[in-house]
Symmetry: C2
Subunit: 213 residues, 2 copies
């Protein structure tokens, strides 16, 4: 059955999913890239970068699985870009260049309408202004029976969690202290929402936990 | 050099060091024992219980190291017992029976004076009413050059952290969601306080991280 899932989402020891002060130089917030120290050395990540080599251990297994059977993505607006408020023009096309790593329809949550943006190799960004339920409905339809992956950031995931719309989350706990930034858990009770660890794997550079309802 | 350290302190994925609603039946709060799933199977824990057997992997290494070179302990009052307010009598002698697992002087933080309590095999509980700095001073003197271990709970550790008095923390991140309870990190910025991961080891049932300044 198709799932609505979060996958390969990195969390610091102190619960942050991104650093503070996101801007053009810091797409993941200040020190946010440190969260992904487990992901960058993997073969899966290097393939995304059109590079060869990379590790093939547990971390890579989870990185690969995160892309399998995904039919559509949903991203928060900050994950799509650093721009706040209305779109001034159509110049910003995401952080990822002409060929983003999604290769599916991608639904971007925003308060400001914008025409769809067709990128290379199957990625099209659609801008959804009427809320998370609508975005999920559109994504499920576009996914053609495959999974919908909620890519992030923390704020988008929190909204979907609070609304009870997520079936599964794979979180990668990274040995990093951020101290400030975008908190994933604060004010949410994941146990109360029905989640429990379904599978735990000690990776080379992160502890992987799959949470399910 | 002697250190002030936290060791073998278990933390849930969502940052809790104990469950909610501590009482006689739940010394670690509701579901708090689940945090220690990595500790209970170890040889070190079984020895504490006068039992043989137990695991001898990474989890056990950290469990053993947590007791090495400790000259004195400091405990918060809730870690000593469930009683709130003044001591009504001297009947409560801790959670651990006649022979507690400390075997050193133990300084208990409380607002209510009480005579020292001499237990079997080297453990004496001293009740300190004049604050954490005083408790630490007394513990350092009693430790005779060995380490002072801040045993917990979360609230006591947070007070020592905020005051800049802790040198090292070994935290065991357990694949458990508590959802509520005593939070270790909330409102504290460990990165801002100068801590960074010094060593990370993937244990059998927890991710062990040693934080140092």
């Amino acid at each position: 059955m198709s799932k609505v899932r979060v996958a390969a989402f990195s969390v610091s020891l102190d619960g942050f999913g991104a650093g503070p002060h996101q801007d053009l130089q810091n797409p993941l917030g200040v020190r946010g890239t440190e969260l992904h120290g487990w992901f960058f050395p993997t073969e899966a990540f290097r393939k995304m970068q059109k590079q060869t080599g990379g590790t093939r251990g547990m971390d890579n297994d989870f990185a690969e699985q995160s892309f399998e059977n995904v039919g559509a993505w949903i991203l928060g607006r900050n994950m799509f870009g650093p721009i706040r408020g209305p779109w001034k023009d159509d110049l910003w096309k995401g952080w990822w260049g002409a060929n983003p790593p999604y290769h599916t329809p991608v639904f971007v949550l925003t308060h400001y309408a914008r025409d769809p943006l067709v990128m290379e190799s199957g990625t099209t960004f659609y801008f959804v202004t009427d809320g998370i339920e609508s975005a999920l409905e559109k994504a499920k339809e576009a996914a053609l029976g495959k999974d919908v992956r909620i890519g992030g950031g923390a704020s988008a995931i929190r909204q979907f969690l609070a609304a009870g719309l997520i079936d599964e989350m794979h979180l990668a706990f990274a040995p990093v202290l951020l101290g400030e930034g975008e908190h994933l858990f604060s004010g949410l009770n994941l146990h109360g929402l029905g989640f429990a660890p379904y599978k735990t794997v000690m990776g080379e550079n992160a502890m992987h936990v799959v949470l399910r309802k």
